[in-house]
């Protein structure tokens, strides 16, 4: 883990990929995200984000999910 780089979903750049390592939130958030397939161990790619604290769009498998700014701040991704 020494040379791996961990950032939040919001900090990722468009086009970057990484593995979700942690969701820093309560049960509610973890449940809602995991229902959409966003959970530790899952590889995701950031498609882009809207400016002015807009949502972040990510690609996982063949689905895309838009995640509000605050939630995106709580998803930690390992860029490897």
């Amino acid at each position: 883990m020494a040379d791996s780089k961990q950032v939040t979903l919001r900090q990722m750049r468009a086009g970057q990929s990484g593995i979700v390592v942690q969701i820093q939130g309560g049960h509610g958030l973890i449940n809602r995200l995991s229902a959409l397939g966003i959970r530790p161990g899952k590889k995701i790619t950031k498609v882009g984000s809207m400016f002015m604290r807009g949502p972040v769009t990510i690609q996982l498998d063949s689905a895309q999910v838009a995640i509000g700014f605050g939630m995106a701040n709580k998803v930690i991704v390992d860029l490897g």
Binding site: L33, S34, A35, G48, M50, T57, A66, I67, F69
Partner: protein, 572 residues
């Protein structure tokens, strides 16, 4: 026997339902099209079996009202057809595993099967069947492929009584299954996918949104005006008017019956907008003024829905909508509201909290004019110039923003954040687009026309008895003093409770100035919902919140009308 269609949002359950039962329901390309359940019947082994289209859900631990309905439905069914998006097998299997833990027999339909190949997805069906312990059938509901095979295997549905697992255990099990069942080969982005990515990035997204909405608006105007100018007006003026004049002669050109059936004939000419008889205005308003715009609006909306553009608009508008106490997904009920407020308010069920639903429903019923009303605004206000139409829309937009900001401050609580799946762009087959257009037309014809005719009849009878004169004198201080309208305009406001299109039509014979028509249109749009919207508001919000919303509507409508009157008639 009762069959439940269950699955994640936007996997094609509603198309599936239509295929099985022949009952046509609205299906679109975004999660949450179905917010309440629909029932229908299909033939199975010679007997009629009930089929229920359950709202989509990702999990049996509900996170929204639509999902709550889905979980409750589960206890009432005998068999579940679990519709699964084959292109998103991993995520879809989570609900499948939860269903297998229940007592109920399950059969799995691997839908959107035709998309797996060009996405480079290969699924080993027999292995998957082995793992799940229930029948798995590949299907393409849109074309009907695999449907008869699925129906044949319904009686093989079983409940494997899988042991209850925790969330993490389920995901671990899914990981195992996916490893052994699915292989994905790499392939290049298609043009549609590149366009999809561009529409959720800031710069390209905004350009695309402006382009899409402008083209949508132009096409709606073009088709609507074209239908009126080249089809319906000629039909009414050249074919129907002579019939009416003959009938008028037959009825002796005057009298009680004549006034109700034909209305006023001025100088031997039929004025379809103003004469106000059952066979004149009663038919002209719904068929020649409103219907053309119902056609053009729902054609365009249907395309936007089926292509899958609306969730992208939600992403784009999220920041703005947060200022109004909502999040981006509220744009979907709002867009539906431009067609009809009733399905729009039902669609607020896709929002998570009661607070959001109250704000969204209130904003829609105040500031989003339905297609029928808009058709009349374009038809009547538009005669005086496009700038007046712009004032009406501009005012409603300002009210929408200002009231949203105020409600966001006043209503307790906070707005949850956006979390939605964005479906891929799809090119819908024309057949499904036209089918949906027909469903919506049928809705308009069956619900609007009887109300309009009944309203014309009632209004004519009430006129004879002088009821409206009494109301007009009573409300004159507000209508004339505050809004600057002739006191007779109050009839339109009263009729607005029945049908707003007809109500605006009632302003036509009053010889209003352009400014007065603008004020009348705005107040009519905002003042109070029509009866159909009113009923759905009571059902969805409860009586207390409905009364709150109604108080807001009346206050804001009178305030806005008064201010408009000051600006348009005194300052300018």
């Amino acid at each position: 026997m009762k069959i439940l269609l269950m699955g994640n949002p936007n996997v094609g359950k509603s198309v599936f339902f239509s295929r099985l039962t022949g009952v046509h329901v609205i299906a679109s390309n975004y999660p949450g099209t179905t917010v309440s359940y629909t029932r229908g019947f299909m033939k199975l082994g010679g007997e009629a079996v009930e089929v229920i289209d359950v709202p989509g859900t990702y999990t049996l631990e509900p996170t929204s009202e639509a999902e709550e309905i889905a979980s409750q439905m589960l206890t009432t069914g005998d068999v579940v057809i679990n519709v699964v998006d084959a292109t998103n097998l991993e995520r879809n299997l989570y609900l499948t595993l939860q269903l297998l833990e229940k007592e109920i027999p399950v059969v799995v339909a691997l839908n959107i099967w035709d998309d797996t190949e060009h996405r480079g997805i290969h699924i080993n069906l027999s292995r998957l069947e082995e793992f799940l312990g229930v029948p798995v059938v590949p299907t393409v509901a849109v074309t009907g492929q695999g449907m008869s095979e699925l129906v044949k295997r319904i009686d093989e549905a079983t409940s494997p009584h899988a042991p209850l697992r925790s969330r993490d255990e389920r995901w671990a099990a899914i990981g195992d299954i996916i490893d052994q069942v699915q292989t994905i080969t790499h392939r290049h982005h298609t043009r549609l996918e590149r366009l999809a990515d561009a529409s959720v990035k800031p710069l390209t997204g905004i350009i695309i949104a402006i382009g899409v909405l402008s083209v949508a608006f132009l096409v709606i105007r073009f088709i609507g005006e074209g239908l009126i100018g080249y089809v319906l007006d000629p039909l009414f003026n050249n074919l129907w008017a002579p019939v009416i004049l003959r009938l008028s002669d037959l009825l002796g050109n005057s009298g009680f019956l004549h006034d109700i059936v034909i209305g006023r004939i001025i100088g031997g000419e039929v004025n379809f907008v103003e004469s106000f008889g059952l066979l004149t205005t009663g038919l002209y308003v719904p068929f020649a003024m409103v219907l053309p715009y119902i056609t053009s609006f729902y054609l365009v909306l249907g395309l936007l829905e089926d292509v899958g553009y609306l969730p992208r608009l939600a992403v784009l508008m999220d920041t703005v909508m947060h200022r109004l106490g909502l999040h981006g997904y509220a744009i979907i009920p709002t867009m539906l509201g431009f067609g009809c407020n009733v399905p729009a308010i039902l669609a607020t069920r896709i929002l998570e909290s009661k607070r959001e639903r109250f704000i969204a429903a209130t904003l829609i019923s105040i500031a989003i004019p339905c297609a029928a009303l808009q058709a009349m605004i374009l038809g009547l206000v538009g005669q005086h110039g496009v700038q007046y139409v712009a004032i009406v829309y501009g005012t409603l937009f300002l009210v929408w923003v200002a009231l949203g900001i105020i409600l966001n401050r006043l209503v307790k609580g906070f707005s949850p954040e956006l979390l939605i799946e964005i479906p891929p762009y799809r090119l819908p087959p024309w057949r499904t687009v036209l089918l949906k257009l027909w469903i919506r037309h049928r809705g308009f014809l069956m619900e609007a026309i009887p109300i309009i005719l009944a309203a014309v009849l009632t209004i004519n009878v009430l006129y004879v008895f002088g009821v409206f004169n009494a109301i007009a004198n009573f409300t004159a201080p507000v209508v004339t003093g505050l809004l600057g309208l002739p006191k007779e305009a109050v009839t339109a406001l009263v009729v607005g409770f029945l049908r707003k299109d007809l109500a605006l039509g009632m302003l036509a014979p009053l010889a209003l100035t352009a400014e007065q028509l603008v004020i009348g249109s705005v107040v009519l749009a905002m003042f109070f919902p029509c009866i159909a919207t009113f009923v759905i508001l009571v059902k969805e919000l409860g009586i207390v919140d409905m009364l709150k919303a109604a108080a807001i509507m009346i206050t804001v409508a009178l305030l806005t009308g008064g201010i408009l009157n000051l600006i348009l008639n005194y300052w300018l």
